[in-house]
């Protein structure tokens, strides 16, 4: 019934005035990003695979499904109308009318950025999983379900739908960790379930509070997030949303799952968790706190800044003190999340814009550092920094990629994290000077940790007793290069390449242009004198 209703729904007002408009236009676009992976996952799970005969075919199906989705998303990205503060590609069908639930999907600029990130991470996670040999069918079915739930949480424009997708993400992810993880995968899986369950419960309670406070007529975000609530209620909802986001991003002190999951999960799962699934935390804060509850955002801004500073500082110090390369990468992957939250805490248009770009860039950087460190540990047959040493000459591809990942975490020029961090810090130094300074200090410690990592693993003296080493395979190189390439492309062309001598985009409208759709609206409460 829902599908038929969606089919019957009129197409969204797809923009026509930007290059690429009309090439691809579908009233089902956002539904496709959710339900195509679900359908393929269901098909894979019932596909006969006697003694692993079709393992390769299953991997190809997962890959081409993701490739197709990325193509669709890229065309949608190109058609996206920049600088328009409304939801685009909207789909709205009544679902559970008795309690005001609508199947309402839509994306604005930040949502589009997140979708592209999810598409890239989806491809990378499949490529990173080519080495999976056991229960291949179940693995890729679950991986596709993870992607579907992440996409669903990104495009959901109804709080009930958001809670469903947000909560559902933990189930396939936990099963992936349980079933294909390392020796401590059971601990990692339970931690993931516990923390993410806590976050889901906080989000559900927050969503229900918003629903009740706005008359209990609708869960639509256009209703519940645009209502004027009392400051006390805003604070309550804001705190619940911070708990939900902190368990997912993760933020200190609710980061307990991150180390174990990144260290124990298969590489592809670590990539999708750090690259896309965890970014949903900051996206949730942006959508439900910063853009919706201005009073609470003002009051909770210092708390967010403190959490950001603690996260970056803790991640950097812990990375410095850890001798397991995968755990080091997990701690380092917490840093971009802290920076994203700092931008949100800034409550200034520049800070918020920096946060949105940081969602994309930080997601790629976190996935890259986690992926490359996991690949090094597999290729060098050891995770201990006491064993790894002098690997640069013996694994040149991975050495370059590790350097790129380290630079991306630090935010050096020509990589996408540079403009993101620049905007974030410029936006934050004025409104949250202590937080921004502390985050910068943490980043400096992170730089030391990264330098120590690079020195020890790549350029230190080789360990004669270490096991044999080999460079990355073609699939591993491709997925890591894809992540690094994404960082490089947006770093070089944040506004998209233009036809020389004109202002016309060549084929890419530019990440900063696309994400601008919606940011001005979100930042509007913070542009007045009170925010200065």
């Amino acid at each position: 019934m829902i599908l038929s209703a969606i089919l019957a729904a009129s197409p969204s007002p797809t923009p026509v005035s930007v290059p690429g408009a009309g090439i691809f236009s579908s009233p089902l676009l956002l539904s496709l990003t959710i339900w195509v992976p679900v359908v393929v996952a269901a098909a894979l799970s019932v596909m006969p695979n006697p003694r692993g005969r079709y393992d390769v075919l299953i991997k190809q199906i997962a890959f081409f499904t993701n490739l197709g989705l990325l193509f669709v998303l890229f065309v949608a990205y190109n058609q996206f109308q920049s600088f328009v503060p409304t939801m685009q590609y909207e789909e709205k069908v009544p679902w559970l009318a008795a309690i005001g639930v609508t199947y309402h999907l839509g994306v604005d600029g930040p949502g589009m950025v997140m979708l592209i990130l999810s598409g890239l991470i989806g491809i990378a996670s499949v490529l990173a999983s080519l080495g999976i040999r056991e229960r291949v069918r179940s693995y890729f079915a679950l991986l596709l379900l993870v992607q579907a739930t992440v996409n669903g949480a990104i495009v959901a424009h109804d709080m009930f739908v958001l809670v469903l997708f947000w909560g559902a993400a933990a189930i396939p992810l936990a099963l992936l960790v349980f079933g294909w993880g390392g020796p401590r995968s059971q601990v990692a899986g339970w931690r993931l379930v516990g923390y993410w369950g806590l976050g889901s419960a906080a989000l559900a309670v927050g969503a229900m509070t918003l629903y009740a406070a706005t008359g209990a007529t609708s869960f639509d975000m256009d209703v519940v997030l645009k209502a004027t609530l009392s400051p006390r209620l805003q604070m309550a909802v804001g705190l619940l949303m911070i708990v939900a986001a902190a368990t997912r991003l993760p933020l200190f002190p609710l980061h307990g799952w991150m180390r174990d999951v990144c260290a124990e999960a298969p590489v592809g799962v670590s990539v999708v968790v750090t690259g896309a699934a965890s970014r949903l935390g900051a996206f949730l804060l942006l959508r439900t706190l910063i853009a919706a509850e201005p009073v609470a955002a003002h009051l909770l801004g210092p708390l967010l800044a403190a959490l950001a500073a603690l996260t970056v500082g803790y991640g950097a110090v812990a990375a410095l003190r850890t001798v397991d390369i995968r755990q080091v990468s997990a701690y380092l992957a917490m840093i971009p999340g802290g920076i994203t939250v700092l931008g949100l805490a800034a409550l200034s248009p520049l800070g918020i814009a920096g946060s949105v770009l940081s969602l994309f860039a930080g997601g790629l950087a976190a996935a890259l550092i986690v992926g490359v460190c996991a690949t090094i540990s597999e290729r060098a047959q050891s995770r201990s920094l006491l064993v790894l040493g002098g690997l640069a000459p013996r694994m040149p591809n991975l050495a370059w990629l590790l350097i790129a990942a380290a630079l991306a975490i630090l935010g050096v020029p020509i990589l996408a994290t540079f403009p993101a961090e620049l905007m974030t810090f410029f936006g934050a130094f004025k409104t949250q000077p202590i937080g921004a300074f502390t985050v910068a200090l943490g980043l400096a410690v992170g730089a030391v940790a990264l330098a120590a990592l690079l020195h020890r693993v790549l350029f230190g003296p080789p360990n004669p007793d270490a096991p044999g080493v080999s460079d990355s395979s073609l699939g591993e190189t491709w997925y890591l290069a894809l992540l690094a390439g994404g960082l490089l492309w947006v770093g070089l062309f944040p506004g998209g390449p233009i036809i020389p001598g004109t202002d016309t985009p060549l084929f890419d409208p530019g990440m900063v242009n696309v994400m601008a759709a919606g940011i001005s609206d979100m930042a509007s409460p913070y542009t007045g004198p009170s925010a200065q």
């Binding site: 009544p94 679902w95 469903l164 997708f165 189930i171 516990g194 009740a212 209990a216």
Partner: protein
């Protein structure tokens, strides 16, 4: 057309009696007896279809003792579907007696149907007792000792309910549910009324095996055959819930006499059910505790006094009765603990999927039937300001999901037991066309219930409205 409304009841009870008689007097050959489950499931499905077709007619029968309204339509359709799916998906090689095993779910469903359309307190009590008696019979086939325990506990529950009903009758001067409500509209809450209500609700909690009254019902249910366990954990608990919903609607003018007690019951059930499910490892016990936790959510919806809350409870009741009745049935023999279902996903994919979905639905995992129901109840709790209860429910929900994931891990990620080590208690369910079809149908219902839930929730809402809630 008016009398056609009673055809589903007549069909179900006639089929049950005929099947019992055929078993008693050996009317059927062994081959025909093997077809009994398919016939019974078919009868229940036909009754379900008829209920949906003719059940929309509003009318009263037997001088107002039975009322056909939207509430009755919803509850009857839900139990008929649950009975049909449970009979179809059960592994009949593990049941102790085919004729009795087939007839008792039909009789239990009939009992709940009577309670759902009851217009007075006596019909309400009689329907519940009939359903409970069917459960005792199922338990007695395998474990007479537990059946005796169940009978004694059931007697106590019945006595509590009867005392409550008697006091309520004495206080209001009426046994008609609508009349009781009308009388209570003009009176305030009093201790004289609160005591019988507490007795009544305690009896119902005992019937539903809710903590702290689960001591007799739950072990008895767990000792029964798979279908018997489903009957005790699912259908009888649903019967108690139906009675509770109807009584809560009657007592709506004076919520102070029942609401605080229900809040405590709901909180203990939600948190206790989740915690107990996490603590145990045997899949059948886990199913039972998850079911108890979901009954807690169902009770929480009644605390709200809102139509949305009662409607949400009713919507959840549909999801609950299907998953809780069919879960133990699809689990089959697997009484040897968690190891018995290790690798079931590879060996019996349809049953494994049905078991996994039933368990996840009882745990409230999105986006399955139970999750939609629990979230709807959560919305009503927020609307009525019961945030503490909502937070406790969320706590129980986390524990329930973790428990269900643990079983999923065993089903799909662990290697199966070697056949040499597989004892009788861990025997794999026997594959039959009917049971596979039943398992697949169960999967479809659990997934589709929420995803295509608008008309179902609409009907549940109308059911709450039919009880006089605004």
């Amino acid at each position: 057309m008016r009398n056609a409304v009673l055809v589903p009841e007549a069909l179900v009870v006639a089929a049950a009696v005929l099947i019992l008689l055929s078993g008693r007097f050996s009317w059927l050959s062994a081959g025909s007896r093997r077809r009994l489950p398919a016939v019974a499931a078919g009868v229940a499905i036909v009754a379900f279809g008829l209920e949906l077709w003719v059940g929309a007619t509003l009318s009263t029968y037997f001088g107002g003792a039975l009322i056909q309204d939207r509430f009755a339509l919803f509850a009857k359709a839900a139990v008929l579907l649950a009975a049909a799916l449970a009979i179809a998906s059960a592994d009949w090689t593990t049941e102790d007696s085919t004729p009795i095993g087939v007839a008792m779910p039909l009789l239990a469903a009939f009992g709940v149907m009577v309670a759902a359309s009851a217009g007075d307190l006596v019909a309400l009590w009689a329907g519940l007792e009939l359903a409970a008696a069917a459960g005792v019979v199922m338990v007695s086939l395998r474990r007479p000792d537990l059946a005796l325990r169940s009978l004694i506990a059931g007697g106590l529950a019945s006595a509590l309910v009867l005392m409550g009903i008697a006091y309520l009758y004495a206080t209001t001067g009426n046994q008609d549910i609508a009349a009781i409500r009308a009388v209570l509209l003009g009176s305030g809450p009093s201790v004289a009324l609160a005591i019988p209500i507490v007795l009544l609700l305690s009896g119902l909690a005992m019937r539903a095996s809710l903590a702290p009254f689960q001591l007799a019902g739950l072990p008895a249910g767990l000792g029964a055959s798979p279908l018997g366990a489903g009957l005790v954990v699912g259908l009888i608990a649903a019967g108690a819930a139906v009675v509770a919903i109807k009584l809560a609607a009657a007592l709506l003018p004076i919520p102070a006499v029942y609401s605080p007690y229900l809040e405590v019951l709901a909180a203990v059930a939600m948190v206790g059910g989740g915690a107990a499910a996490l603590a145990v490892r045997a899949p059948r016990n886990r199913l039972a505790y998850l079911a108890a936790g979901q009954v807690g959510w169902l009770v929480a919806g009644l605390v709200t006094h809102y139509r949305t809350g009662v409607g949400a409870s009713l919507f959840l009741l549909g999801a609950f009765v299907v998953a809780a009745t069919c879960g133990p049935a699809v689990l089959g023999r697997a009484e040897g603990g968690e190891a018995a279902i290790a690798g079931l996903g590879a060996l019996r994919p349809a049953r494994a999927a049905a078991l996994a979905l039933a368990m996840l639905s009882l745990a409230g995992a999105p986006p399955l039937a139970g999750a939609f129901g629990e979230l709807a109840v959560a919305a009503a709790l927020a609307q009525s300001g019961h945030f503490a209860l909502l937070a406790l429910g969320a706590l129980g929900w986390i524990m329930g999901i973790a428990a269900a994931l643990s079983t999923l891990r065993t089903i799909y990620l662990q290697s199966p037991l070697e056949e040499g080590h597989r004892g009788a208690a861990s025997a794999l369910p026997v594959l039959t066309r009917l049971s596979s079809l039943g398992a697949l149908a169960l999967c479809f219902v659990i997934v589709a219930y929420g995803l295509f839930g608008s008309p179902i929730m609409g009907l549940a809402d109308q059911g709450a409205e039919a009880l006089g809630l605004r």
